[in-house]
């Protein structure tokens, strides 16, 4: 009989537990994606002065169905060197969070790649390297000097049109030969901008 008592007790407590846990019908907490990058803005400022050109890709619903909105503010000029800089934002948060710091803090694990379609008469060059940034891990500047690409230059020659593809890779092989193929890693951002040099 004792065992039967024990069993019925176990059963009753089981049912009791069930009924307890079933009445919390509060709305679950909404999750703000912390890791999302919604917006990348490339600012190209002519070295001799003049109006800056901005290239932007913006995808406010993250991995939602809406495709990113791409804007290019204007055309590039012939035979000009532009100073390029990149700003990454997470605009799902208010105010928008700047993601650059995170990339800088892990500069050794990130690299931007700039690829120019053959038809566009332009070349790019890195103007920063890892030692320009403070490692989040150690709190001190990196000692390595591989390129990162948060700042760069773009130099145009003759009038033409084509594309510029900007890609951010996470955990690429570093150092690499400057191509994405060699670097590997995972793509965090990639966008192709249609550009015209006139």
């Amino acid at each position: 009989m004792k065992t039967i008592k024990f069993l019925s007790l176990a059963l009753v407590s089981g049912i009791f537990l069930t009924s307890c846990s079933s009445d919390d019908n509060d709305a679950p907490e909404e999750i703000n994606e912390e890791e999302v990058i919604t917006t990348m803005t490339v600012t190209l400022t002519p070295q001799g002065g003049g109006a800056a050109i901005t290239l932007q890709t913006r995808d406010l619903d993250g991995d939602g169905p809406d495709a990113p909105v791409i804007t290019v503010s204007g055309n590039l000029s012939e035979n000009t060197t532009y100073n390029g800089s990149l700003v990454l934002l997470n605009e799902t948060e208010t105010p928008a969070e700047e993601v650059n710091e995170e990339i800088e803090g892990e500069a050794a694990e990130h690299q931007f790649f700039f690829e120019i379609d053959g038809a566009l008469n332009a070349t790019t060059a890195y103007t920063d390297n890892e030692s320009d940034y403070v490692s989040e891990e150690t709190g001190e500047n990196f000692t390595t000097t591989n390129p990162v690409g948060i700042t760069f230059t773009l130099e145009t020659t003759d009038a033409s049109s084509g594309t510029l593809t900007v890609t951010l890779r996470h955990e690429p092989k570093k150092p690499n030969d400057g191509t994405k193929e060699d670097a590997g890693g995972e793509t965090d951002i990639t966008e192709t901008f249609d550009l015209t040099i006139e």
């Binding site: 065992t3 039967i4 069993l7 176990a10 059963l11 089981g14 049912i15 537990l17 069930t18 846990s21 079933s22 709305a27 679950p28 907490e29 909404e30 999750i31 703000n32 994606e33 912390e34 890791e35 990058i37 919604t38 917006t39 990348m40 890709t57 913006r58 995808d59 406010l60 619903d61 993250g62 991995d63 939602g64 169905p65 809406d66 495709a67 990113p68 799902t92 995170e102 990339i103 803090g105 892990e106 690829e115 379609d117 989040e136 594309t163 593809t165 890779r169 996470h170 955990e171 193929e181 590997g184 890693g185 995972e186 793509t187 965090d188 951002i189 990639t190 966008e191 192709t192």
Partner: protein, 799 residues
């Protein structure tokens, strides 16, 4: 010990008795416990003497000229299990004895062994013996089940192995762990069953949904994992298995101990531990493919013939690293990986488990009570509790790297009761009820939108199954089951996704809170499902048997099929469920023809499964995000047809040389679209030759060849616009890898160690030729070759 002692005493007492008054008798009737029918030709022996009598046609017996004293009677009958009774005799005694007529009913009093009774009589069913199971002590359940014909597996690397029965897996395969239906998020492709293979005494697989007593939705099949039986005598015994494995440079240790007392009391404890570092393909290290697993269980109770109870608790935890190279960013990365032919990340061997990885913990508790009613049947009552916690860690940026991307907690309570009526010799009926409550809690601390939402689920089920032995050769079986299930979820949708899915047309009324970019919704769905089975088992002549079965089964969609929405980071794909998905209905016809000649035999098992509203997940296109394009995998419903054939044959060429041959084929077709179904196992041919010499310490050696054909029937690849190339490129996501051939070797020897102990040594070599190959049903086939050669050495101690 106690039993032996009393046995000795009894003999002594009866010897003493000889000198006393010896004119007494014992008489009575021997009847069947269930039907109360008299048993003819039962024999009653007085232990320690030569006095033995048989019952007459009315089941009556009489033993005369007995002295006053205590005796032990051994009562046996050819179709029953033998029982021992203690009797004290003062004068003539009337003693009616009931015997348990159905041997297979005797779960609780039989001795240890793997004589598992069939779960169905007419469906296709196969058992995995303890001996085979033990060889997979350091592997997984799915690896072991692939031994069976018609069972394949959907793998994510070597450690995550989901059993696939007759081409179907996941929620269509029900796993019953010691009477408890596993509730462990079986819906995900990279979610392996959370049970310790070392805790199993035997495993049966029912290929189809015919075992209605366990559930009506097992459209693929039911895997029944059972505990070894506990003997009803006073004893203690145990087993320890030690495995060393070369590929992965790891191994496992598993040990169990059972103590039984008189009167059916028992306690059993078991524990196991596995640890592996990176596995290796023939040409390179598969970086980040190590794993670690712990399992333990404790069971105690009292098992008597007429009633009993037991309590069991099982704990299982595993931490599995996922191939680093399979974690990719977007569709370009995937194309690059497919074209590369070699993983992008190859590092030196390590035991470290890094991201991406998963950590799963499963608790299972069970209380069971049974009582047998004489002349009526057996009643069971069971409550079980399960808690499943799953973490998935991705390669993430910054501080988030240590935070799980998926953190789910699934809690399930189930109460079941059933009654098996077996009073009649030729008819058996089994009736049962089930109630279940389940709750899923996705932890918001991940900082990643939930893939599976908060939900509560209620299930109610009832079944009636029966069998009728028409005559000595023909048995009919049939059953019906009804299941109700209700899911009540709370889910956030991105407004853009809500509109893209057209939910703003069909489901606007379930929006609870409109927060601009996101919507909080409360989907509540009810499903009523009916399943039924009918079959016949006909013995044409001894060794020649025919089985035929039809089963109707319905399955309600799982939470993943309904609610998936978003980027599945570990798979680099956007998975989209659909709220409109309804239950799927399967009609399966299967047959089996088994024929044994004196030195050879074969089994032919064809089946056809028509599934209306079959729910499948397949690549349907791409979506663009700032991270590039991602393949979209969408759940959709269609009408499908699966046809298949399993063939088994054996031949005993000489007493020492034996060969076995197996062939398995499944063809899956989407009838609506007239195209192939995704993830259907390739045809597979296995031949083995074994040589055994019992005199040499039970030495045996076998060589197995496995040829896996190329899966030629796959859905079309999708083409994707690549912004960088400014053109459409084909994503060879459905292209199947080439056929492959593997050789394996097994050898075993046994060494007795004293009277009750034994050491068994085994050597297993898999992929003997170190062949490079990729398997269609391995989700990592895009990134890396499968496992290279492996040596396994096992030491088993029985004591």
């Amino acid at each position: 010990m106690k039993a032996t002692l009393s046995f000795v005493l009894l003999i002594v007492v009866s010897q003493f008795g000889l000198s006393q008054n010896c004119k007494n008798s014992i008489s009575g009737q021997v009847t069947d416990y269930h039907s109360k029918a008299p048993l003819e030709n039962a024999s009653i022996l007085i232990v320690g003497t030569s006095k033995e009598v048989q019952t007459d046609s009315l089941g009556n017996y009489r033993i005369e000229a007995l002295c006053i004293g205590a005796y032990e009677l051994e009562v046996s009958h050819p179709e029953c299990s033998t029982i021992f009774l203690e009797v004290t005799l003062n004068n003539d005694k009337q003693l009616d004895i009931s015997l348990e007529h159905h041997l297979e009913e005797l779960d609780e009093v039989n001795v240890v062994g793997d004589a598992v009774s069939d779960k169905t009589n007419t469906a296709l069913e196969e058992k995995l013996k303890l001996q085979t199971l033990e060889l997979y002590s350091s592997g997984t359940l799915g690896d072991a089940l692939r031994e069976l014909n018609g069972v394949a597996s959907l793998n994510t690397g070597a450690n995550i192995v989901k059993p696939t029965i007759h081409g179907l897996n996941g929620s269509r395969v029900l796993i019953l762990n010691d009477g408890v239906r596993m509730q462990d998020m079986e819906w995900g492709d990279e979610h392996a069953p959370n049970l310790d293979i070392n805790a199993a005494g035997s495993i049966s697989v029912v290929k189809g949904a015919s075992a209605l007593q366990y559930g009506g939705d097992a459209i693929g099949g039911t895997i029944i994992v059972e505990q070894a039986r506990v003997p009803a005598k006073d004893t203690i015994f145990g087993k320890t298995l030690l495995n060393g494995v070369s590929n992965g440079r790891g191994g496992s240790l598993s040990t169990e101990l059972t103590k039984t007392f008189g009167e059916g009391w028992f306690v059993k404890g078991q524990g196991s531990f596995k640890r592996f570092g990176d596995h290796e393909a023939p040409d390179y290290v598969l970086s980040n493919t190590g794993m670690q697993e712990w399992g333990a269980s404790l069971q105690f109770g009292k098992h008597q013939f007429t009633w009993g109870w037991d309590v069991r608790y099982a704990y299982f935890t595993s931490e599995i690293a996922i191939l680093r190279a399979s974690h990719i960013g977007n569709v370009d990365d995937l194309i690059r990986a497919i074209n590369n032919g070699q993983p992008e990340v190859i590092r030196p061997f390590t035991y470290d488990l890094q991201n991406p990885r998963q950590e799963v913990t499963h608790h299972l508790g069970k209380v069971k009570l049974y009582k047998r009613f004489e002349g009526l049947g057996k009643w069971n009552l069971q409550y079980d509790f399960q808690s499943n916690r799953r973490f998935e860690f991705d390669v993430r940026r910054g501080e988030l790297d240590g935070t799980a991307s998926i953190d789910l907690e699934l809690t399930t309570h189930t109460l079941t009761t059933d009654f098996k009526w077996d009073a009649k010799e030729d008819i058996q009926l089994h009736f049962g009820l089930l109630g279940r409550y389940q709750e899923n809690f996705p932890n918001p601390a991940t900082g990643v939108r939930r893939l599976i939402p908060d939900y509560e689920k209620f299930d109610f089920g009832s079944f009636l199954v029966g069998e009728y032995q028409v005559n000595d050769n023909l048995l009919l079986e049939g059953g019906l089951r009804y299941d109700f299930s209700r899911i009540d979820a709370q889910k956030f949708y991105q407004t853009s996704r809500w509109n893209e899915r057209n939910y703003n047309v069909d489901f606007q009324d379930i929006i609870v809170d409109d927060r601009g970019n996101t919507l909080l919704t409360n989907p509540v769905f009810n499903y009523h499902n009916i399943s039924g089975t009918f079959g016949a088992n006909y013995e044409i002549s001894p060794g020649d048997r025919l089985k035929l079965n039809y089963t109707l089964a319905q399955r309600a969609p799982n939470p993943s099929e309904l609610f998936s929405d978003g980027l599945h980071h570990s798979a680099a794909r956007i998975e989209l469920g659909d709220l409109r998905i309804d239950s799927e209905t399967s009609h399966k016809v299967s047959a089996s023809w088994e024929k044994d000649f004196s030195h050879w035999g074969f089994t032919l098992e064809p089946f056809a499964n028509w599934i209306q509203d079959f729910i499948l997940l397949e690549p349907s296109g791409v979506e663009f995000t700032i991270r590039g394009a991602f393949p979209v995998w969408e759940y959709r419903q269609t009408n499908a047809r699966l046809l298949g054939l399993d063939v088994f044959g054996y031949a005993n060429w000489t007493p020492a040389v034996k060969t076995e041959h197996r062939f398995s084929l499944v063809k899956g077709k989407d009838i609506t679209r007239n195209s192939a179904l995704i993830n259907i196992p390739s045809a597979n041919l296995r031949n083995s030759i074994s040589y055994s010499i019992p005199e040499w310490k039970n030495f045996s050696v076998s060589l197995e060849s496995q040829y896996v054909f190329r899966q030629n029937e796959t859905p079309e690849n999708i083409s994707v616009f690549s912004p960088q190339d400014q053109e459409d490129v084909v994503l060879a996501i459905n292209t199947a890898p080439d056929a492959y051939h593997l050789l394996g070797l097994r050898s075993q020897m046994e060494f007795p160690l004293g009277k009750t102990s034994k050491l068994t040594t085994s050597l297993v070599v898999s992929n003997l030729l170190d062949s490079n190959y990729r398997e269609y049903l391995n989700r990592q086939r895009f990134f890396a070759d499968d496992l290279g050669r492996n040596f396994l050495i096992q030491l088993k101690f029985n004591y």
